[in-house]
C-alpha cells in the first residue's frame, strides 16, 4: 500500500486553477523532489497534502485513509511537515522544541515518558544537533534551526516526511548535508517529499520528481526522466542550453 496516494487534486486561489487533476503516489523509501517556477503551487501542494489547506476537489490518502477525515492528532502520526521557516519570539531550547514533536503521541497533559525522550534523542542524533540540545533555538543559525525542525518532525515517527524548501537560505555545505540526511531517511524506509528551489539538488538522492509547470500542468515520474534539460527548460522558461540547468 502506498504511504501517500493523491488522485485528481485540484486547487485554485482565484478563478485560474493552480493545481489541476494532480495524481501521484509515494511508497515507503521514495524520496521525491517537487520542482517548478515560483508561484507554480509547490508549497501550496504540501499544505494540501496535510490538510492544512483544503483542496477544492480530489483525494489525498494517507496510509489508505482519506486525509480530510483523519483528526489532527492521528494525522500527525502519519505525516510530518517541516515549514520553510519557523520562528518564535520565545526561547525554547532545542530539546524542548524536538520533544514537541511527540505532542500527538504524548497528548496535551502528561509529562514526557522515557520513550519520548528516546525518540527525541534519536532524532537529534540523526540530524547531528545533539550538542545543541540545551541552546535556545533563537541563538542558532538558519541552517541549525532548520535541522531542529527536521528533528522535531522525525520525533513524530510518521511514515511520511514533507519539507517545504528545507535548503533555502542555506550555504552549499548545509544544502548538501540536508539532502544527504533526507536520502538517508529514505533508505531507512520513510517516504520523503521536499520542495526544492534548485533542480541540481535533486541529483543528491531523489528517486522521484514532481515537476509543476504552473497553471495546473505537471509531470511526475522517475528523477532521471523528469530532470532532462528539455523538461526543465520548458517548466522554468529557460533556453535549453542555460548553464543553470543541471
Amino acid at each position: 500500500m502506498p504511504v501517500l496516494k493523491v488522485t485528481g487534486l485540484t486547487f485554485s486561489y482565484g478563478p485560474r486553477p493552480l493545481i489541476q487533476g494532480l495524481s501521484f503516489e509515494l511508497r515507503s523509501g521514495d524520496f521525491m523532489c517537487v520542482l517548478g517556477p515560483n508561484g507554480s503551487g509547490k508549497s501550496t501542494l504540501l499544505k494540501l497534502l496535510t490538510g492544512f489547506m483544503k483542496a477544492s476537489s480530489g483525494s489525498v490518502k494517507l496510509g489508505g485513509k482519506e486525509a480530510a477525515l483523519i483528526e489532527p492528532g492521528r494525522l500527525a502520526r502519519l505525516a510530518a511537515y517541516v515549514a520553510s521557516e519557523t520562528s518564535t519570539p520565545y526561547d525554547f531550547s532545542v530539546r524542548e522544541t524536538v520533544l514537541l514533536g511527540r505532542t500527538a503521541r504524548a497528548g496535551f497533559w502528561r509529562g514526557y515518558r522515557a520513550e519520548d525522550g528516546a525518540a527525541a534523542g534519536l532524532a537529534m542524533e540523526e540530524t547531528g544537533i545533539t550538542a545543541l540540545a540545551e541552546r535556545s533555538i533563537n541563538t542558532l543559525s538558519t541552517g541549525e534551526r532548520q535541522l531542529v525542525f527536521i528533528a522535531q518532525a522525525l520525533a513524530q515517527e510518521a511514515g511520511l516526511l514533507l519539507l517545504d524548501e528545507p535548503t533555502s537560505h542555506l550555504d552549499l555545505k548545509y544544502k548538501a548535508e540536508i539532502m544527504a540526511l533526507l536520502a538517508r531517511l529514505g533508505r531507512r524506509g520513510l517516504a520523503v517529499a521536499a520542495v526544492l528551489h534548485e533542480p541540481a539538488l535533486a541529483r543528491l538522492g531523489c528517486n522521484k520528481a514532481l515537476l509543476l509547470n504552473g497553471g495546473g500542468a505537471y509531470s511526475f515520474g522517475a528523477e532521471s526522466e523528469m530532470l532532462s534539460p528539455e523538461r526543465l527548460a520548458a517548466a522554468y522558461g529557460l533556453p535549453i542550453d542555460s548553464p543553470l540547468l543541471p
Binding site: Y90, D91, F149
Partner: protein, 312 residues
C-alpha cells in the same frame, strides 16, 4: 525551575503579602485593621493579579505574540464596559448574570480585536496591538459616556474604572477566585497544546493540534480569568503583559511551568503594587491600576523597542 529559583519566587510572593498587610498609616498597630481591612484587600489583590498574570501568559502563548495581554487586546475594556452596564441596569455583582455578562464583554472585545487584526491578512504582532488599541479606545469612550450621563452613581464607578481594590464583597472575591482557579487548571491540563501554539499555528497543526479549536479555548480561558479579575478590581493594565516576561526569565518559555508561575507572579506583582500605592503617598491612596500603569507603560515601550530590533 530549580529549587533555588522556586525559593526566591515564593519568598517574593510572601514578601508582597506581608508588605500589603503592613501597608498603611496605622502600620502593625491594630489587629482589627489588618484582619478586617487589609486582609480582604490583600486577598483581592492576589486573586486579581493571578487572573491577569494567567490571562497574559495564555494570550502571549496562543497568539505567539509577546506584546499581548488582556489590557492591550481590549479584553479588560470589554469586561469593564459590560460591568458598568450591569451596575447601571441594577444587576447585583454577586449574581451569575453579572459574571456571564462580564465574560461575554471580554470575549466579544477580544475576538473583535483578533478579527480586525486578521483583516489585514497575515496576523502580525503590530496589527494585533493596533486593533486592540482601537477596540479599547471605543469601549472606554462608551464607558466614559455612560459615566457622565449617570452622575449620581458615577463616583464609585469612576474608581472601579480606574482599577482599584476597595471594598471587595466576599461573594465576588470567592466566585472570581474559583473561576480563576478553574481556568488555570484547564489551561495547565493543555500545556503542550499551548507550547505548540507558541511555535505558530502552522507548526501546531502539523504537531497534531487543532489551532482553531485551541485558539477559541485559550481565548475563553483567558477571558474568563480576565473577567473574574475585572469583576473584583476594574481595569488594571500591564500585570498580564509584564508578568510572563519576568517569569519566563526564571522558568523558560514552556507553559507547563510558565502558566502556574505567571498566575502566582501576577498575584505577587499586583499585591506589591497595591501596597505601594497605599504607602508611598500616604495618607492619600493611589489606585493599583495607576501604579501598574506607571510601571507598565515604560515596560511596554521597552518591549516595543526590543521587538523592533528583532530580538525578543
Amino acid at each position: 525551575m530549580t529549587r533555588n529559583k522556586s525559593l526566591i519566587f515564593f519568598a517574593a510572593l510572601a514578601a508582597a503579602c506581608l508588605f500589603s498587610l503592613a501597608a498603611g498609616p496605622a502600620g502593625w498597630s491594630s489587629a482589627d485593621i489588618i484582619i478586617n481591612l487589609r486582609l480582604p484587600r490583600t486577598l483581592a489583590a492576589l486573586a486579581v493579579g493571578a487572573g491577569l498574570g494567567l490571562a497574559g501568559a495564555l494570550f502571549q502563548g496562543v497568539l505567539k505574540n509577546p506584546l499581548s495581554d488582556p489590557y492591550i487586546l481590549g479584553t479588560s475594556s470589554g469586561a469593564t464596559a459590560a460591568a458598568v452596564f450591569c451596575f447601571l441596569a441594577g444587576i447585583e455583582r454577586t449574581s451569575p448574570v453579572f459574571f456571564l455578562a462580564v465574560f461575554a464583554g471580554a470575549f466579544g472585545a477580544t475576538f473583535l480585536s483578533y478579527w480586525l487584526a486578521r483583516l489585514a491578512g497575515r496576523l502580525s504582532d503590530a496589527a494585533l496591538v493596533l486593533a486592540g488599541v482601537a477596540v479599547s479606545a471605543f469601549l472606554s469612550a462608551l464607558v466614559m459616556l455612560t459615566l457622565t450621563s449617570a452622575r449620581e452613581r458615577s463616583f464609585s464607578l469612576f474608581y472601579f474604572v480606574l482599577g482599584g481594590l476597595y471594598s471587595v464583597q466576599p461573594g465576588v472575591l470567592i466566585a472570581s477566585s474559583l473561576i480563576i482557579l478553574a481556568a488555570g487548571a484547564v489551561a495547565m491540563a493543555r500545556w503542550r497544546a499551548l507550547d505548540a501554539m507558541a511555535l505558530g499555528s502552522e507548526n501546531a497543526y502539523h504537531l497534531g493540534v487543532d489551532p482553531e479549536r485551541e485558539r477559541i479555548l485559550f481565548f475563553a480561558l483567558a477571558c474568563a480569568a480576565t473577567s473574574a479579575a475585572v469583576a473584583i478590581g476594574g481595569t488594571i493594565g500591564f500585570v498580564g503583559l509584564m508578568t510572563p516576561h519576568i517569569i519566563r526569565r526564571m522558568t523558560g518559555p514552556s507553559a507547563r511551568v510558565l502558566v502556574p508561575a505567571a498566575a502566582l507572579g501576577g498575584a505577587a506583582l499586583l499585591t506589591a503594587a497595591d501596597a505601594a500605592g497605599r504607602s508611598f503617598f500616604s495618607p492619600s491612596e493611589i489606585p493599583a491600576g495607576v501604579v501598574m500603569a506607571l510601571a507598565g507603560a515604560p515596560f511596554f515601550m521597552w518591549l516595543l523597542w526590543k521587538s523592533s530590533r528583532g530580538k525578543n
